[in-house]
């Protein structure tokens, strides 16, 4: 028994050893297939977003200002700006040139040793460029030139008082002494004078403005003869007046003459669509620091589409194309102020909605601004400062209360799909994208994404072009306000060959076309877009990927 058991176990041991050695060929891998790949299916969210109407409009239209009124109703504003000349360019005291004979010897006196004094008050008419009648000009600086000549062979003292050139209430006084030895005398004295006020003088008998001077000339005899006809004279030149401010009547003049051209990018991509605004407005926001009555005149207003020769005249009722603007008044102590004003001429335009219904890309008009339109019969207490100007911001104000179809919004973005789809590493067999939307806008949205290559040639579209999903409008009430949201899920499939083509994509064009709620069934229905309306979307994908592990 003992021996048998031992032999049995020993035999088992040896047998196991032998059999084991025979089984190692199970690990022979010489005919092992090299093919290895993993087929994965992934479901994952990709992108999401919540867009307000404002976000959407700003995405596709970066030029317009989008805002909301007190009730939250959105509006778009397209503007162009017009600027008048500044007063420094338009209003000034031109150079003045006056000649005065100060003294002429009336008869000969031999060996003159006495003293002779004469004085004289002189006025000169001020020459203006136009019909202005300035009362005073406060200057920053101006140049005064005195060109004095004399052939009287004696010592001479000259005192000139410029009555209408004052500083701190005192007139400017200039003294000149000429000695016998300087004769014949011919000198020009030049001075730059700062912070003086040049006043003008009126006489009741004249409509003109005058400049006053007082001369006093003393001849001190030196023993030479004082010969008849000898004289001393002066030429006075006031030039290069740098105005700080000016008062008085600045005249009737054209301060602005420009053409405005308001771009309307909203219609940039909409050529065939229909857009009817309930209450479009044409406004002018004005800022004026001219202390002058100003009248604005608009002419030749047209709505036109860039690239087209057709245009629509914008027609004003009566004389609504001419209006006055507010100005700071001297009588109200408003010197230096800027008056702001809004002029809304929408109700005076008979066809603004119709003109906008032509989907114009621009509205243009000519404008002219005239000072003192009533001439001297109006308020002549004008004032200007060197910075006086008026600015007119013309606004096309479009509240989003409208009826529209085919209103296209388009935006092009860089999109390098080769960064996203790594070819050769994994083979994407199929991609199903599920696009879920919750539409809170009072409009159907027809959405498409075009994929373009680097030469902007189209490679593919997100949705089949013949089967673009229309995301239906939210429900609206009779006033065009949203009452209920609508939800939609759209599926798109991309297969292997299409996905490979997508690696060439370098740009994408997002295009959305909008049709307002009940557009087709109710021709009077206009809807309102409020700032709290949203458009929610989520995109998730289901992909089938074959990961090649052979390498």
């Amino acid at each position: 028994m003992k021996k048998e058991a031992t032999i049995y176990i020993f035999s088992l041991f040896i047998s196991l050893l032998l059999v084991t050695s025979c089984q190692l060929d199970k690990f022979d891998l010489s005919d092992l297939s090299e093919k290895k790949e993993i087929g994965q299916g992934w479901a994952a969210p990709l992108i999401k977003g919540e867009l307000t109407t404002q976000d959407l409009l700003e995405t596709f239209d970066s030029t317009g200002l989008i805002n909301s009124d007190a009730e939250g109703l959105l509006y778009m504003v397209y503007t162009d700006s017009l600027y008048s000349l500044t007063a420094n360019d338009e209003v000034n005291l031109p150079n003045q040139n006056y000649f005065d004979l100060l003294y002429e010897v009336p008869y000969t006196i031999n060996n003159f040793t006495g003293s002779e004094t004469v004085s004289k008050d002189i006025t000169h008419k001020i020459i203006f460029d136009s019909d202005e009648q300035l009362d005073s000009v406060i200057t920053d600086i101006f140049t005064l030139k005195q060109h004095i000549t004399s052939n009287i062979e004696h010592d001479i003292e000259i005192t000139i008082t410029y009555t209408d050139i004052v500083k701190n209430g005192a007139p400017l006084v200039e003294n000149t002494n000429i000695l016998e030895n300087d004769i014949p005398y011919d000198e020009e004295l030049t001075k730059d004078l700062e912070d003086y006020t040049i006043r003008t003088h009126s006489f009741d008998t004249s409509d003109h403005k005058y400049f006053r001077m007082h001369y006093e000339v003393t001849v001190n005899g030196t023993g030479n003869d004082l010969n008849k006809g000898e004289e001393v004279s002066i030429e006075t030149i006031i030039e290069n007046v740098d105005m700080q401010s000016a008062y008085g009547y600045i005249g009737q003049d054209t301060l602005m003459q420009q053409e405005a051209n308001i771009p309307i990018e909203l219609f940039g991509e909409t050529q065939e669509g229909t857009v009817e605004f309930a209450n479009p407005q044409f406004k002018f926001l004005i800022e004026n620091s001219y202390g002058v009555p100003i009248q604005i005149e608009l002419k030749d207003a047209k709505a036109y589409r860039e690239g087209s020769t057709d245009s629509t005249d914008i027609i004003f009722e009566n004389s609504s194309n001419i209006f006055d603007i507010k100005y700071p008044e001297f009588s109200k102590n408003e010197v230096g102020e800027t008056k702001k004003d809004t002029v809304n001429i929408s109700n005076s335009i008979t066809n603004l909605s119709d003109a906008l219904a032509t989907n114009p890309t621009h509205v243009k008009f000519s404008s002219r601004g005239i000072s003192n339109p009533d001439g001297l019969t109006g308020d002549t207490n004008n004032f200007v400062t060197d910075e006086s100007q008026f600015k007119i911001f013309s606004e096309l104000y479009l509240p989003l209360h409208l009826r529209a179809e085919g209103l296209s919004l388009r935006d092009t973005v860089d999109l390098d799909m080769s960064d996203i789809i790594e070819k050769d590493q994994e083979e994407i067999k199929e991609v199903i994208t599920k696009f879920k939307t919750i539409n809170g806008l009072p409009a159907d949205v027809d959405f498409q994404v075009y994929f373009l290559d680097n030469t902007y040639q189209m490679i593919d579209t997100l949705f089949n072009e013949n089967n673009r999903p229309v995301i239906e409008s939210a429900s609206t009430d009779s006033e065009g306000k949203v009452t209920d949201l609508t939800e939609k899920i759209s599926e798109m499939s991309f297969y292997e060959n299409e996905i490979n083509d997508l690696t060439k994509v370098r740009n994408a064009v997002f295009e959305a076309s909008i049709k307002t709620s009940e557009f087709s069934t109710d021709t009077t229905k206009k809807v309102k877009f409020y700032s709290d309306y949203t458009f929610n979307f989520r995109m998730n994908i289901e992909t089938k990927i074959n990961l090649n592990l052979n390498n």
């Binding site: 176990i9 093919k35 299916g41 994952a44 307000t52 970066s62 879920k436």
Partner: protein
């Protein structure tokens, strides 16, 4: 070459998977001094032994509890050659169906640095120094499904990765053993071990789930993960405690002694009757204290739902922010990370051996052994039935059948040859890997050479006879 690599990978995977265990056959081979590592009460037959570095004991144990070679590489009639489970013609679901909810991969390696033992009367003393390393990983079926198929099967469900665990340990063990025959029937033994941790990485807690909504429009990640480790590195984190980089630092001599630990083995054998012996032991009951000079603790906790990259800011005139940056910010906001270098205790996974041995006669006996190991909150059970014989002097043989890690096809062999003072041995519980390698899930092997004296039990009995009867 690629095929060789594949084979190596498979063997490594096998090595990674059978929760580490010694050769079960060793338990009843008391001629080997290494038996004291399984039950310190068992006294080696040799009165004295000396172990040499490395060559005295090389213990290798690799495997998994799920897959065999045949599940990975097999013949395909359709293709007409061998294919892997990743071949496009193969239905990957068939492979996934073979996986358990939890799938263990393991590898264990230990070797001798120095050991010595001797008998003193009824007592036996041992001193062993060993280097041990252990790598284990447990992965859930859902993880394999996600990797191989994506998440399309998980719509409306949560892919549970909570059973994932990773464990890697490397330490030195200094063991002082003592065994005492209390009576003719009862022997008691104990090993007192001083340990030095050299490196550790373990997932202390791992609760991770990925929910995919029915529509596929939402992914929700739930995590409650706690990782602990010890390594000579410096971990740099950002303001959110996310790891920015890991810098290795120079290893210092103090690192070799900076993580002390203690453990005990104790066991007993009892002769119920002349032919029947019962035994039991508890091994590796202890811990290593990884202190804060090299300890790293990392927790990741939170819930994050991904419903798509928010591109709202890309529209409109508002200045847009980077959507991916926003995504990262919100992830960091929702999933909190905590890092600390606070020291921690690492408890070894204790093992319980219970055995019964029947002596047919003095050259042949049969043994039954139960091994229970506690690992990662789970109890792992294996059984071994062995037949042991010493057919001629100087040769010991054992043949065994084991149920290991849910695998029922494990036949083992063991051999000890005594060549003078040298003792050469080799054994494996899974020698049957050679019989049905394609069906084998794990493989273990132990071999070595001891220097041993006093291997004659008869002589020892005579020596113990009283001088006067």
């Amino acid at each position: 070459m690629k095929k060789l690599l594949l084979l190596n990978f498979f063997l490594f995977a096998i090595a990674l998977t059978t929760i580490g265990q010694h050769s079960q056959s060793l338990y009843y081979m008391e001629r080997l001094p290494q038996v004291t590592s399984m039950n310190p009460a068992i006294q080696p037959v040799s009165n004295f032994y000396l172990g040499f570095p490395v060559i005295s004991n090389v213990n290798l144990n690799i495997g998994n509890n799920t897959l065999s070679f045949d599940d990975v590489i097999f013949e395909s009639e359709e293709v007409g050659s061998k294919i892997t489970f990743l071949h496009p013609s193969y239905n990957i679901d068939n492979f996934l169906n073979k996986l358990n909810d939890n799938n263990d991969i393991f590898t264990e390696f230990s070797t001798n640095i120095f050991n010595i033992g001797f008998r003193a009367g009824d007592s036996y003393f041992t001193l062993n120094v060993q280097e041990k390393s252990d790598i284990r990983m447990s992965y859930p079926k859902d993880l394999a499904t996600i990797l191989l198929k994506g998440n399309e099967d998980f719509k409306g469900k949560t892919a549970e990765f909570g059973n994932f665990s990773a464990f890697s340990s490397h330490y030195l063990e200094y063991s002082l053993g003592y065994s005492q025959e209390i009576s003719d029937e009862l022997t008691f033994g104990v090993n007192v071990k001083y340990l030095n941790g050299l490196g550790l990485l373990k997932s202390k807690d791992f609760d991770l789930g990925l929910y995919t909504s029915e529509e596929g429009d939402s992914l929700s990640l739930t995590s409650d993960i706690s990782l602990q480790g010890s390594a000579p590195v410096t971990v740099n984190t950002d303001s959110s405690n996310y790891i920015e980089d890991i810098e290795s630092r120079d290893i210092e001599v103090s690192d070799l002694t900076s993580n002390p630990g203690f453990a005990f083995d104790f066991g007993a054998t009892y002769e119920v009757m002349d032919d029947l012996q019962l035994s039991a032991s508890v091994v590796d009951l202890g811990f290593i204290n990884y202190n804060n000079t090299s300890a790293h603790n990392y927790t990741i906790k939170g819930q994050y739902s991904f419903t798509g990259v928010d591109v709202s800011d890309e529209f409109g005139n508002e200045e847009s922010t980077d959507p991916m940056e926003n995504l990262e910010d919100s992830l960091k906001e929702e999933v909190k990370m905590e890092y600390s270098d606070q020291g921690f205790l690492h408890f070894l996974g204790p093992k319980i051996y219970v055995g019964a041995r029947y002596y047919l006669h003095d050259r042949v006996d049969f043994g039954l052994l139960s091994r229970t190991q506690f690992y990662n909150g789970r109890m792992l059970q294996s059984f071994t039935l062995s037949a042991n014989t010493r057919p001629i002097r100087g040769i010991s043989l054992t043949a065994s059948y084991s149920v290991l890690n849910n695998s029922y096809n494990n036949l083992g062999l063991g051999l000890i040859l005594r060549l003078g003072p040298f003792q050469v041995y080799a054994m494996s519980d899974t020698f049957s890997a050679g019989l049905w390698p394609h069906k084998t899930q794990s493989f273990n092997m132990r071999f070595g050479l001891n220097f041993a004296f006093g291997n004659n039990p008869k002589k020892r009995i005579l020596n113990n006879e009283p001088m006067i009867r």
